[in-house]
Symmetry: C2
């Protein structure tokens, strides 16, 4: 099933790719709501019912596009991270944040598909979980680097949040202090809030120079996680073990 050979199997993966390509084209041009199976089939010169041999429903096609979008975003973010490999954690953090923003502005409909409101009655299958985690994992990696190397300030953590923070740390990054993990998860959500607000027009008539505003706010987010902000000079090395 997986590595079937023969002309038919080859044709199948080619047609599947062609369908996804055309669907992605329509998605980028018109948005997920206007993506039409019949239009995709028409454009590919096939009859609409034939398309159901490749994707059993419209939702399955969308799921494939969602996974691709997560992968594209994740890849872009990782590329930006590697391009900034020589710099310090703060610079790399900001580079990743800016890559996420850039990708969102370049692929608004794809961004809306993955971080906007879920479509109709759509519930994301588990297949989307690993690709969706890539950006988050990248942020964790940056913070982990800082924790093990140059130093990382510890955010404050009120007593009532400690149990939850420890739970999150155990699940996500047992090697990091719970307060750092909690702060990082918050920063992660806030980053996408920022991007979403700009992309979906909430900043119209409010923020003009969004580039500068975003860079500064991304730096503030890093600061909240414990990464040092330029002016503040070098932070203390992590005190505890």
């Amino acid at each position: 099933m997986s590595t079937a050979h023969g002309a038919r199997a080859r044709a199948r993966i080619e047609v599947t790719a062609a369908i996804k390509d055309e669907a992605r084209r329509q998605l980028a041009a018109e948005g997920a709501a206007r993506l039409s199976l019949r239009a995709v089939a028409r454009e590919l010169g096939m009859v609409s019912s034939a398309l159901y041999r490749y994707f059993p429903s419209r939702d399955d096609l969308l799921t494939a596009l969602i996974i691709d979008a997560y992968d594209s975003l994740g890849g872009t973010a990782e590329a930006a991270h590697e391009a900034a490999a020589g710099s310090g954690p703060l610079q790399r953090w900001i580079a990743v944040c800016e890559a996420v923003r850039r990708w969102a502005l370049d692929h608004p409909h794809e961004y809306a598909l993955i971080y906007g409101s879920p479509v109709p009655g759509y519930t994301a299958p588990d297949t989307t979980v690993p690709p969706a985690a890539r950006v988050g994992l990248l942020l964790f990696a940056i913070v982990r680097d800082a924790y093990r190397g140059l130093g990382l300030a510890r955010p404050s953590l009120p007593a009532d949040l400690r149990p939850e923070a420890e739970r999150m740390a155990a699940d996500l990054a047992p090697d990091l202090p719970p307060e750092t993990v909690a702060a990082l998860v918050a920063a992660w959500a806030q980053l996408f809030g920022l991007v979403g607000f700009e992309l979906f027009g909430q900043f119209n008539r409010v923020v003009q120079d969004r580039e500068t505003f975003f860079r500064h706010t991304a730096g503030q987010l890093a600061h909240g996680v414990g990464l040092v902000y330029p002016q503040n000079g070098p932070a203390a090395r992590n005190p505890a073990s």
Copy 2:
């Protein structure tokens, strides 16, 4: 046109309200994408074409629902603010943030309609701007109170963001320091990022005790704007004029 009298005019506003009510029901039950004009008409015992006398298109109906949703959210937030009128700015800030979150969890599809990805080719008309601003204005009011009264710390502001911060302050709140305005706008976006992530399932398998996590993060946001965080004791009164 506006204050027309007579049975016909009265009937018109009643039917308009009935349509909106039924549409809101379907929106809450199924989401914006599955809201169908024909289904609304069917449920109201009228024929679909008759509905077009009240709303010239589906988008116009959605716009009406969007405005109502903004108003509902704004009203809820304002009520929460007044209920906490006796408390300090930080408590009021958190009360408003929690009211926003609560409303979002209680009205997920309506929240998605206004803060999720924009529907098909929909562009929000200017009519939606004032209701959309209510929550933002409320946050401004809280910070303004703190600025004039108990004191407000000044966030840092790098040189390259100063022009933009001053522009924002001039537009939005000329009586507040530019660094405060910039920080407030960022916090505003981050608040909705947090709510959206929880609502749209991004926190699944990540954050368990979302209530506590949210309250703490809302406090951190307030701190970023300059409102004092409990442990830190009273802040310095605003130094400059």
